[in-house]
Symmetry: C2
Subunit: 419 residues, 2 copies
């Protein structure tokens, strides 16, 4: 099942700035891993079954480093507000509904269905504080075939009673109980998820830091998204030298940490993120919709920070990381007008961020080089063709800007077909 | 045929800042004009045939004030360049191909098909310099049922020999010959289309100004899109006080003039546009893709300029004016970060710009008030519904952000069904 050859027009990122493109190539999947891309089928793979996608585009699955499962229901709503007001008015009341498992069942079924039919093969999800609903999200994702990290959210301050956890101790207890129920999954795994500094007491952060070490867990949270949020963090953490430092003090930054946004990270924060090996999840659409700003992606990359893309539903409206790629390019062009230092992102760079860049969080993911996990999309782009021939690189560009979910005719994750 | 009642959930702009919304309402079309929206069917319309769209959203058709027919083939390509380099490298060579009528036939058939299935009911198209191809575009648009203004482009300087017209006189002669063949259309009409100042000699502008008066024609062109373009205009027109003034000197600005972009219009230019009654076509996606900037829409509106939205294919990649609405909102949010004076656009305002705002160029268009021409979309938004009830206004918001062409189940223009 997980051993086969895909024939078609193959594109993937070689480096941040270069694509590998092969027309009529053969992409070999051996037991769920890529064995590489070849112009003819190598002798040792001759007996593998051949999937014929001649004329179709074959690319790696896309990686969403930051999204919120319970907010799919809120997409497009309340976007006249900025972050903190939007959380209060829309997000917290919506997330409180997930204490009801039947509501969660309905909403998460729709959300997972949306992601399954789109181009993303892997994602890091925030759930809510509720253990049963978060487990339900994990089960639905496991059934979908997507490979995901999912976090039960921790929050014990500055949120309504209907949503917040009663104490740091209660949050720790619930988190440990949740972690005890996560072993059954094959493609889905837990990730520690303190919502953000304003939602978590120092006591809670210390407990989460201990859990992180005990379980060897990755961490996801939010960083330097919005100016009012940042002023609040300075008030809450007067001893910290900056927002990232407020996490670092609890030893929550490391090579398995994702920090979403980094819109206002300064050079000191960029250095801290780079040194710790943190992944920055760039969420350009959310940063526009919530009037957060245009993140300094060029500076993050130049500073050595590992960067991937995030849809950040429902700050972002569209789950597709194709959309995040074009949003990232467009926002970088507007940013350049304010900051002439920062060259806009190229298509190659945006594609890299949405595949290899974010994929690195999941290990050897986001490429077709030999040894990478086999996540692949097959895209029928015939209806997008102009009346003149396009290079493979131009076809990829067109797919990134113009394709819809319906153009994806096959999707493989770890070598298994999702459809 | 053009007399009927549509039953459904009806939304349209009342003013720039307010929507009229009626659930289970009746929208009456009397001989191609709206007779208004009613909670029950008024006596005098009882015998009109009823179209049952209960539960569906019914809104006015969307208005695209600025797009380029021959550039649909270029969508997504070359967007690493800025305006002038992109014109040289991609647009001019592509437009030169339209000297071949069979190429034009193929490309324009695809382009018109794309627009027909989307939410726009009216548009202003740039063609190319070529009369036969431009007439072919007009015929295809006429057959589609869309209501359009289409321009044979004028350009007699600063463009490759393969595309430019031989002289101002040759351009005038061709334009008069083209206008002589435009009477056969019902839904499509000509619009005078000097490409932009850098492409047109003073001699040509004087001739076009005379044609404008002789035929009573509207005019479309480009204004203050890109900083390098503007510097070039200053060089070319040292006697002008500004870019808009360079058009005004030939008496080309008036209440039937559309100027696309206005990204860098200063307060003097805004005043000139307002006084002349010019329509500004705001093209936010194009302005991002070509690194042009974030247009001062708030200042244009406050200054009394009439504003509509444009897709500006292929500076913009997406023909849908729904996309232009969300792009306009998003870009205005990023602009606010640089310019705190300019509040972001609201959903109501963006929807107004894409319906009534641009519709005013076509007359009484873009509303369901009695007397307006009957352009309507029926949208099945059931698959976009979250697990809680939405207000009509929220459903509209969701459709604007999330709908695709496939959600449009019926489209009427001047009372005639397109599908």
């Amino acid at each position: 099942m997980k051993t086969m050859i895909l024939k078609g027009d193959i594109c993937y990122s070689k480096t941040k700035k270069t694509l590998a493109c092969l027309k009529n190539g053969f992409l070999v999947c051996d037991s769920g891993l890529s064995a590489g891309v070849f112009p003819t089928i190598p002798e040792q793979y001759r007996r593998f079954p051949l999937k014929e996608y001649t004329g179709k585009l074959i690319i790696p699955g896309l990686i969403d480093l930051h999204t919120h499962g319970p907010q799919f229901s809120l997409r497009s709503l309340g976007l006249d507000k900025e972050l903190l007001d939007w959380l209060e008015a829309l997000v917290f009341p919506e997330e409180a509904k997930y204490s009801d498992i039947s509501y969660a069942e309905q909403a998460y079924t729709a959300a997972v269905g949306d992601v399954k039919k789109g181009p993303n093969t892997r994602a890091c999800f925030f759930g809510t504080v509720h253990t049963p609903s978060t487990l339900r999200l994990m089960t639905l994702l496991e059934e979908s075939g997507l490979v995901c990290r999912v976090g039960k959210v921790n929050m014990d301050r500055n949120c309504p009673d209907s949503l917040g956890e009663a104490s740091a101790e209660a949050s720790e207890t619930a988190t440990r109980a949740w972690l005890g129920q996560c072993d059954a999954y094959k493609n889905v795994a837990p990730i520690l998820t303190p919502r953000f500094i304003p939602s978590c007491t120092d006591d809670l952060m210390r407990r989460l830091s201990a859990i992180r070490k005990e379980y060897g867990l990755p961490v996801q949270s939010h960083l330097s998204e919005n100016l009012r949020e940042m002023a609040w963090v300075r008030e809450l953490c007067p001893e910290s030298t900056g927002y990232a430092d407020a996490y670092a003090r609890f030893d929550l930054l490391g090579p398995e940490t994702i920090m979403a946004h980094c819109v206002w990270s300064d050079s000191a924060e960029i250095e801290l993120l780079a040194q710790a090996g943190v992944f920055a999840a760039h969420c350009p659409q959310s940063n526009m919709n919530l009037s957060s700003g245009a993140a300094p992606v060029r500076k993050l990359l130049a500073g050595g920070v590992r960067v991937g893309l995030g849809s950040d539903v429902a700050g972002g409206v569209h789950p597709s990381i194709f959309r995040a790629m074009t949003d990232a390019i467009q926002v970088s062009k507007l940013r350049r007008i304010q900051d002439a230092e920062d060259d806009p992102l190229t298509l190659e760079e945006a594609f890299y961020l949405g595949t290899l860049g974010g994929g690195a969080f999941f290990g050897a993911v986001g490429s077709f080089e030999a040894g990478y996990e086999f996540d692949a999309l097959v895209i029928d782009d015939a209806s997008l063709a102009p009346p003149f021939p396009l290079s493979l690189r131009e076809r990829l560009e067109r797919v990134v800007y113009l394709s819809e979910d319906r153009h994806i005719i096959a999707k493989y994750v770890r070598g298994a077909p999702l459809f």
